[in-house]
Symmetry: C2
Subunit: 219 residues, 2 copies
Amino acid sequence: MAASQTNQALIRLREMVFTGELSPDSNHYEADLADQLGMSRTPVREAALTMQAQGLVEVQPRRGVRILPISAEDMAEIYDVLCELESLAAARAAEKSYTADDLRIAQVCIDNMDTALSNQDRDAWASADDRFHTELVRLGGNARVAEIVARYTDQVRRARMMTLPLRPLPVQSNEDHRAVLFAIENRDAQSARSLHRAHRQQASTLLTGLIREFGLRRL
Amino acid sequence: MAASQTNQALIRLREMVFTGELSPDSNHYEADLADQLGMSRTPVREAALTMQAQGLVEVQPRRGVRILPISAEDMAEIYDVLCELESLAAARAAEKSYTADDLRIAQVCIDNMDTALSNQDRDAWASADDRFHTELVRLGGNARVAEIVARYTDQVRRARMMTLPLRPLPVQSNEDHRAVLFAIENRDAQSARSLHRAHRQQASTLLTGLIREFGLRRL
DNA sequence: GCATACATTAACGCATACGTTATTAAGGGG
DNA sequence: CCCCTTAATAACGTATGCGTTAATGTATGC
């Protein structure tokens, strides 16, 4: 990817959205963002339009760029999508007769999650979890599925980060991952699909529950 | 949606992509497109960037805007996605206890397909089929699912149109639709899901088969 | 004859400028 | 005191221009 101003703006703005530096439901004028990023309005505007197509922001005349918040309902919608497509990917991966070596990256991610878990390092766990899901979807071999999963993972990234400290230590999660990978290794597509589906439904229930329980309004 | 130049460009360019006026795998300079559309490069460029995020074109420096072609493999990928998400929508719709009146639009679409079929009017059939799938997904109640389905339907729209005359009359298809709608009406989520899944797999096999059989390279 | 270096060209990236238009606030009428 | 009209403001939409840069063709040397 070219290091153009537009791409710089994209990278930086995404970062600002994910970290909450631009808070959910806040509005920002193109000119202000341009000043902050040290460039003119044009590349900022182009980046904003791209991010709008990705569902991260909304561009409205005279109201600037609005950072889209995530509600519990949004979360439920997105996890429904992730649930279907990731479990499809798991099934497809199981059909591909991968060798243990093909699955090494996924294995490493799981190991990293275990390590993070025993260190009670939630950030490291979340990072490894993210990589595991990305790798799983890559193993599924459908680039569109991978793209959609990446996009919607982006949409919930901030909300996940903000609720991370509220979650119980994800012990069950790691066992789920192992089971899914085991099914893929054993070429059991049915199990891989249903195990992963259950895993994601679990996560969905947990997260939407947390948001509702804590009355989190602007994620 | 504002009737801005950018939106005009979006509408017109999408049209040109769908009809094949801009042929698959062809490149077009921003300045040329701007001339054709009677506007400056700026709105054309913005529209092109949005369409790039939607997976319709690719914008590359000094190569202009490239209309992305659809291969049999792309088709298979996209139908895998549509298959999962539409059948999810069908299941969700079945869980919603819709009344016959709620399902009237879908019913009308099916009737229109029947009429078109008996008139051997493939275009009318395709149009009603499109509306049926859109309505089904709307009934599912998940806006993200609806958005993804719309986007990927766009990606295969041109290829579907071009292969339409090659297809046998879709008699089976209409029966499938009735069965899915029947299951939704009867609140049988399992059946709705599996029936629709089978329906889409059928379509996928048919279309990818056609593309391969006729050696269609640039769709 | 082929490869490499260089010059030429033009498409793009981005800054800038300006007219348009929605918003907001102020003022006047009810 | 509230509502409506109107004027001021400023953010945006889009045209334009220019420096940058990649692609292409040419010339030169091996």
